[in-house]
C-alpha cells in the first residue's frame, strides 16, 4: 500500500483498526518499564532529592506540548495547500490532546517549582510562553466548536494554528533570549545532554511512553472524527431527502 492510499478515510480506518491494539500494548509496556525505572532504579538528584521524579512527567509533557502543535502546524499546511481529506481531521483530533499535555506540563512544573524555587508561578518568559500555548490550544478547540461546517472550521483553525506556531521557537529559546528563573535546556542542547545517564535513561523511556500514548490516542481520535463526519453527512442526506419528499 502506498502512503498516498492512506488519504482515503476508509483505508485509514482499516489500517487504524489493525494498528491500534499493537500501539496500545506498546504504550502500556513503555509506561511499565518507564515507571519501574523512575520508582525502582533512578537515584535521587544530589540537589533536588526525590523531587526530581516530577521531571520524568514534566519534561515529556513539555516536549509533547510543543510537538503536538508542530503536528497540527504540518497538518494545517496540508489543509490550506493540498486540502488533504485527513489533514484537518488530524489537526482537530490533536488539539485536545495537546491541551492536556500542556496542562500537565504547567501543573507538574508548578508542583516542582514550589519546593525548588519557593513559588508555584513566576511570569518569566518560558512559563508565560507555555501558558500562551495552552490558551492557544483552547482557542483552536473553541474555534472548531464555533463553526458548524468542518471545511470552513478547518481552514480558519489552520490559519490560527500556523500563526500560533510562531510561539514554538519563542518557547524553545526563551531561556536563552531572556533571563528566566526556568533553567536552560539540559537534554536537547548543543553539546549533548547535561544529565547523568541514571536520570537520562528513565527520562527518555518516559518520553517514549508519552509519545506512544499521543500516537495511539491521536489515531483513535482521528478515527472518531472520521466517524463523526460520516454521521454528519448521513444526517444531512436524511434532511435533504425529507425536504425533497
Amino acid at each position: 500500500m502506498a502512503l498516498i492510499d492512506l488519504a482515503n478515510p476508509t483505508r485509514f480506518l482499516t489500517l487504524t483498526e489493525r494498528v491500534l491494539p499493537w500501539l496500545a500494548a506498546a504504550t502500556a509496556l513503555a509506561f511499565a518499564v518507564g515507571l519501574y525505572l523512575v520508582w525502582a532504579v533512578a537515584p535521587d538528584d544530589y540537589q533536588q532529592g526525590a523531587t526530581v521524579k516530577i521531571m520524568f512527567i514534566h519534561v515529556p509533557n513539555a516536549w509533547l506540548a510543543m510537538g503536538v502543535w508542530s503536528v497540527m502546524s504540518i497538518a494545517s499546511i496540508g489543509t490550506l495547500v493540498w486540502r488533504h481529506p485527513l489533514a484537518d481531521v488530524a489537526a482537530k483530533s490533536a488539539a485536545p490532546l495537546g491541551a492536556a499535555f500542556t496542562f500537565l506540563a504547567l501543573l507538574t512544573g508548578s508542583l516542582w517549582g514550589r519546593p525548588m524555587w519557593g513559588t508555584y508561578w513566576v511570569w518569566d518568559a518560558r512559563l508565560t510562553s507555555v501558558l500562551v500555548l495552552f490558551l492557544m490550544y483552547l482557542g483552536v478547540i473553541a474555534l472548531w466548536r464555533t463553526v458548524d461546517d468542518p471545511a470552513r472550521a478547518g481552514r480558519a483553525a489552520a490559519i490560527l494554528t500556523l500563526v500560533g506556531a510562531i510561539n514554538l521557537p519563542i518557547i524553545k529559546f526563551s531561556v536563552d533570549w531572556w533571563n528566566t528563573l526556568h533553567q536552560p535546556a539540559s537534554v536537547l542542547r548543543v553539546g549533548g545532554p547535561a544529565i547523568h545517564s541514571s536520570i537520562l535513561t528513565p527520562l527518555l523511556v518516559m518520553a517514549l511512553a508519552f509519545g506512544l500514548l499521543f500516537v495511539t490516542l491521536h489515531l483513535a481520535a482521528m478515527r472518531n472524527e472520521i466517524l463523526r463526519r460520516r454521521v454528519r453527512a448521513m444526517w444531512l442526506m436524511q434532511a435533504h431527502a425529507a425536504q425533497g419528499a
Binding site: 526525590a50 521524579k53 516530577i54 507538574t108 519546593p115 483513535a220 442526506m237
Partner: protein, 56 residues
C-alpha cells in the same frame, strides 16, 4: 520509599498525570462508542452513505 520533605508534591504530580491520562483514554473510548451507536442508528433507519449506495 522515602520521598523526602516534598513527597506530597511528587504524589500530587503523579496522581494528576494519571487522572488526566485516564480521562483522555475514557474520552476517546466513549466518543468512539457514541459515534458507532449513531452510525448504527442511522443505518437501521435505512440511511446509507452516498459512497456506499453508489458502490451497491
Amino acid at each position: 520509599m522515602d520521598l523526602g520533605p516534598h513527597g506530597a508534591f511528587i504524589i500530587a504530580a503523579y496522581v494528576t498525570a494519571a487522572l488526566v491520562v485516564l480521562g483522555l483514554i475514557a474520552w476517546v473510548l466513549a466518543d468512539h462508542a457514541a459515534q458507532r451507536r449513531l452510525l448504527a442508528d442511522l443505518e437501521a433507519r435505512g440511511v446509507t452513505r452516498r459512497s456506499k449506495s453508489e458502490a451497491a
